[in-house]
Symmetry: C2
Subunit: 199 residues, 2 copies
């Protein structure tokens, strides 16, 4: 019996406690701190547990041999609406290797800005007041893209369109007028995504 590789089980609470610690401090603690965190009094046992988390993909090592979060550390239960429900098994994250919402939304951190949306002029594009718009800062954009433009010294979020060889800013709400900027149209950046908090 037991020839089949039966992985040693890990206390799932250990991982949760580590994740909580990490989400508070953004750092993996030392073995002694981990021991305290887990209610263990032997570093040797911490070492053993770390090895198992490492094999499971939750922890990893930097090239400098420092402990760091592994590929699955930030894994959240990601579920496809189409996926069969009721399954508590780890097969949920099929195909997806989502790391962080930040990483998913922000591709070029140094060129990304966050703009809080004011008003409901883009409501038909699913952009609500209070949403956090992820914007890639760049001075130009293509027609059809949602851009953050600077009009009258204020940020405006609108569709970029062309009318009779002139750029116009089109809201996604019939109650608002199309903006036809006189002279140069100053573009702050292009919308790359958004985040909304509803609770």
């Amino acid at each position: 019996m037991a020839l089949i590789s039966q992985k040693p089980q890990l206390d799932p609470q250990y991982l949760e406690k580590l994740q909580d610690y990490y989400s508070e401090h953004k750092v993996i603690p030392s073995y002694s701190v981990l021991a305290g965190l887990w209610g263990i009094s032997a570093k040797s046992w911490v070492s053993e547990c770390v090895k198992r988390f490492e094999e499971a993909g939750f922890l990893d090592w930097t090239p400098d041999k420092q402990l760091k979060p592994g590929a699955r550390f930030f894994e959240r239960k990601l579920a496809d609406s189409t996926v069969q429900a009721g399954l508590p098994n780890p097969a949920i994250s099929d195909g997806y290797d989502l790391i962080t919402i930040d990483d998913w939304l922000v591709k070029i951190p140094s060129k990304t800005a966050l703009v809080r949306v004011k008003g409901d002029s883009m409501i038909d594009a699913g952009i609500h007041e209070g949403d956090l718009l992820v914007v890639e800062v760049q001075p130009n954009a293509n027609v059809g893209e949602i851009v953050v433009a600077i009009v009258d010294n204020e940020f405006t979020v609108k569709y970029l369109q062309k009318e009779r060889n002139e750029f116009v800013l089109k809201p996604a709400n019939k109650a608002y007028p199309v903006i036809r900027p006189k002279g140069r149209l100053e573009i702050f950046g292009v919308m790359a995504g958004l985040a909304r908090r509803t609770r």
Copy 2:
């Protein structure tokens, strides 16, 4: 002269290199590694630089005296739509101390799941196909909240409403019917936010 506290200047490249290292490994390296990273050959000087970053709010310490990212470490340009535009100064992030989109959206990591939205039945609530729904997993919800329910073994995102003492699931799209579940209504969780990528 120079009685006014003139903070010692820091090489901004140092911070960028640290941020790059962190975004790759999700961990703050040791002083010796930092020395290599910064092209410095004395740990004592690294120690000095770290102290300055700490005073500037970019680095901090855990209660266990381990170095960790400070409040300003993850700072992004956050702009309010109402704010006067054209300003490249750091005063943009007035009032807001936004850390990470993740932290902004996810309050309880261990109870948070991500659900990819299928279909357009909630389009009028600004929820599009392909959006990533941030869901707080819990077996019950209040009337009026947007919930992820399990109907016919599939996830469904809908408003939770009450009709004649019975819970119903209401889409935000006139083209879809109200779902009246027979028997118990199984709730997976409550919507807490969403993330959308458009580029």
